[in-house]
């Protein structure tokens, strides 16, 4: 296999705001390969966004981060890179779509020229070629009458169309990785279905690598090849989407999936709940971070950090960080 397009190893990220410091990401490794979609799943505060965007220098305002470990893209080490170089590498290699299209689009500029500028700057196109590329991207992302929309301002587009324009903008520089941070969360159900279908289409046509950051299991099920389940800054479980979503091992993954309604299945109840709340991440405790909410926790869970252990999987190893379930259900897979 060729080198992953984006990889981090042993990543630790501490976040500082004026009032608190939090260990948001605690020794996490992941890699995304060309042509695959990796879903990073977790609830608010799990560190999914920080883990994926932090090494690229994309952090919310007012937050300072302390980042350790390694992060590589395009054969370069991102951790040691100057902010200026990082910004230029990011612009060419990574396209990012957010929950709110207006955080990516400039409200003062027409849609088309914003796309063309990206294409000119990062894909090295001539102004005329950049314009043509922008129009064809608008068409590709399902925006009707792209020639007309090229000269529209963001406020002239409906919510669903803006979402599409933002996706077009993210693709304009011909990036190798598309990072989608909660791309469907704020959308209505029928528009959500449209956007998921569009992302699936882009993924099939482009062979682009996609990192999908979400808490929406439905979106994961539609798009992902591989899944990382993050809990309180650590990986609880990872593997192929089918393994993780249909044969979950970690008690957190099992709880999370049981709380998702599935009305097409007769057996799933979908309203089982995980008791309690995620832990206070301002203090780093030695054991498993899920122990306080876990129905299967034992004394050892509170003292020893569980390691990711292989429990199966074909081409993609299926790994979970729960020695208790692995022992009780005889899941350890040593080959």
């Amino acid at each position: 296999m060729s080198e992953p397009v984006y990889a981090v190893e042993d990543l630790v990220i501490d976040l500082y705001t004026p009032s608190v410091s939090v260990r948001a990401v605690d020794r996490v490794s992941f890699a995304i390969n060309a042509g695959e979609t990796l879903a990073v799943v977790g609830e608010s505060g799990s560190g999914k966004t920080v883990m994926t965007l932090g090494p690229l220098g994309l952090m919310p305002e007012g937050v300072t981060i302390d980042l350790r470990g390694s992060a590589r893209a395009a054969g370069k080490d991102l951790v040691k890179m100057s902010p200026k170089k990082l910004s230029s590498l990011r612009g060419g290699q990574f396209g990012v779509i957010f929950q709110d299209p207006m955080s990516a689009l400039n409200p003062m500029l027409k849609i088309g020229p914003q796309l063309a500028e990206q294409a000119r700057r990062f894909a090295g196109l001539s102004p005329a070629a950049a314009r043509a590329a922008a129009v064809s991207l608008l068409a590709r992302t399902g925006i009707p009458d792209p020639e007309d929309r090229y000269d529209r301002y963001p406020h002239e587009l409906s919510g669903g169309m803006l979402q599409r324009a933002m996706i077009a903008l993210a693709l304009a520089a011909r990036p190798r990785v598309l990072i989608a941070d909660e791309p469907t969360t704020a959308l209505d159900a029928t528009v959500q279905a449209q956007i998921l279908a569009l992302l699936r289409q882009i993924q099939n046509e482009d062979g682009i690598a996609v990192a999908l950051i979400t808490h929406d299991i439905g979106a994961v099920s539609v798009l992902a090849d591989r899944v990382i389940v993050l809990y309180a800054g650590r990986i609880a479980e990872e593997g192929s989407a089918i393994d993780v979503l249909t044969s979950p091992v970690h008690p957190y993954t099992r709880g999370l999936l049981a709380s998702v309604p599935d009305f097409r299945s007769d057996t799933a109840s979908g309203t089982r709940e995980i008791p309690g709340l995620p832990p206070d991440q301002t203090r780093v405790l030695p054991g498993c971070r899920f122990a306080d909410r876990c129905p299967q926790a034992e004394a050892s869970c509170r003292t020893k950090r569980p390691v990711l252990t292989c429990v199966g999987g074909n081409e993609v190893p299926h790994r979970a960080a729960c020695p208790i379930v692995i022992r009780d259900e005889g899941l350890a897979d040593n080959d």
Partner: protein, 340 residues
């Protein structure tokens, strides 16, 4: 106290008081804006049965929140009538505002926005009891303890301010506050949408338990059809200010007849990737049209995959369909019955 039914012991038995708890007739809420007249709710009839757990579902701009607010008088109506527990809501509020508030409560989408930032949980929960002159200090304190138990919050939250609570805890506090006066009817505007998945399940279960224990009539406004299917006993689907379809939950979900209901259901992905690998969801074109100028004829006709000529001309009225509810689709239960 002039208001007799508010001081009566509350009927806890669902069967003891059948019939509609809420009746809405010809309700319209129009807003004048600089862009023109927004017909947020445009002629809605609705009946919520006593003891029901009734879900109102639809996408942004369909008027579901405005409808809920107009039902309790938080929003004044342009036309139409609302009756709650057999009484004209407007008259009731005029004659006895406190009595109304004891019987009917509203839970807002954003619990933080509906609480005072400087009031502790204890103060937040005691306030309605104090305002309504219920019990002495000791009795109120006891009641607050009961309310915490009811929504499964520990007594340790009592001294805390809303800001220091998690989203789920805040929503529990706002539910507890709404229950402080032992209401009979509870309307909730998107109480789940700001919550994480696992916490959402906690709150859904809490609502189901409260409804069961207290025999409340609960109306919940939601955009998440999957959750409504899990817990609601009745469903109303709204589109652009009108009711598209309604019915008892089980038969409705087994056989929705309106193409919009069908598309809304189809839009919910399965959490099983093996199902998604082969499933082709119904994709509607475009966004919902603006309530500034709804399309002529059926409001869904501009996006409907099975639209016929008549749909663009004549607006379909709600009529009884096989699943026992009503549907506003010309084709429902005909030879052209939509199956998406």
């Amino acid at each position: 106290m002039t208001d007799s039914d508010a001081s009566d012991p509350r009927p806890r038995d669902k069967a003891a008081n059948s019939g509609p708890a809420i009746e809405v007739e010809g309700l319209k809420v129009h807003f004048r804006t600089s862009a023109g007249l927004v017909r947020a709710v445009d002629g809605v009839d609705l009946a919520v049965q006593n003891g029901a757990f009734h879900g109102i579902v639809g996408e942004s701009g369909c008027g579901k929140t405005t409808l809920a607010r107009a039902i309790v008088g938080l929003q004044s109506a342009t036309a139409g009538h609302v009756r709650i527990l057999g009484r004209d809501r407007a008259d009731w509020q005029r004659a006895n505002r406190k009595g109304f508030a004891r019987s009917v409560q509203f839970i807002f989408q954003d619990p933080l926005g509906s609480m005072s930032r400087r009031q502790s949980v204890l103060q937040t929960l005691e306030e309605p009891l104090r305002i309504h002159g219920i019990g002495n200090a000791a009795a109120r304190r006891r009641k607050v303890g009961e309310l915490l138990d009811l929504v499964s919050l520990p007594a340790s939250v009592l001294d805390r301010l809303p800001r220091s609570l998690s989203g789920g805890q805040r929503q529990r506090v706002s539910i507890a506050r709404a229950l402080a006066l032992d209401p009979r009817v509870l309307l909730c505007d998107e109480p789940l949408s700001a919550l994480d998945v696992s916490v959402r399940a906690q709150i859904v279960n809490l609502f189901a338990r409260l409804q069961d224990q207290l025999g409340l009539t609960i109306v919940i406004v939601a955009h998440d059809l999957a959750i409504v299917r899990e817990v609601c006993s009745a469903v109303t689907v709204m589109y652009l200010g009108r009711v598209a379809e309604e019915g008892a939950a089980r038969p409705f979900f087994a056989d929705p007849t309106h193409p919009y209901s069908q598309a809304l259901l189809s839009a919910v992905p399965s959490p099983d990737p093996r199902v998604e690998a082969t499933r082709v969801p119904v994709l509607l074109e475009g966004d919902p049209p603006s309530p500034l100028n709804p399309p002529a004829g059926c409001r869904f006709s501009t996006r409907c995959p099975v639209v016929i000529e008549a749909c663009r001309v004549t607006e379909p009225q709600l009529r009884a369909v096989q699943h026992g509810g009503r549907s506003a689709c010309h084709l429902a239960d005909t030879s052209g019955h939509p199956i998406l």
